[in-house]
Symmetry: C2
Subunit: 99 residues, 2 copies
């Protein structure tokens, strides 16, 4: 059932694969930073969550998405998806923070 | 209720903001490419979904995630989240494809 993939489609897929690799590496770096945030907050006794910071992040990402012609609702859902993962990690490590 | 943010935390947050902007821009580019894939598939009569391609993408991302010390399950969930959004877009535009 293996059909030859048209070369134009192959070319698009190579771009998607490159972009996905970039996404993974940026996310890996982001988790490194949020881990440090969690440790810092625990050390200086700051609460894990910061509603003001979260509101700012959402507003900023929505407007960045708009200027990139990306659906702002999707950008917001994605940020929440990532923040939930950060919280899950931090709960597991008991060091808090949804940064 | 506005407390001064420690400078180390501010620095971490600036990194997170930069990384989030990079994520948004890469995703915007990815959606541009998947849109072209959808149009190409519709034009040449290829089915929107390709289970073999999806399996390859998942395997590739999981192994990239592992080598970046990112949770492979998270990478897989994220890819599914993005592919679902691509499908939602394509259903809306009736041009199919979960690439």
């Amino acid at each position: 059932m293996t059909e030859p993939v048209p070369s134009q489609l192959q070319q698009y897929r190579r771009s998607i694969d490159n972009l996905d690799a970039a996404l993974i590496h940026i996310l890996a770096e982001r988790f490194k930073v949020t881990q440090q945030v969690g440790q810092l907050k625990a050390r200086i006794g700051l609460p894990p969550a910061d509603a003001g910071r979260e509101r700012e992040q959402i507003q900023r990402l929505r407007s960045l998405a708009e200027s990139s012609h990306l659906d702002p609702d999707f950008a917001e859902k994605l940020l929440n998806f990532i923040i939930n993962e950060v919280i899950r990690h931090h709960v597991a490590a008991s060091d808090g923070s949804g940064d």
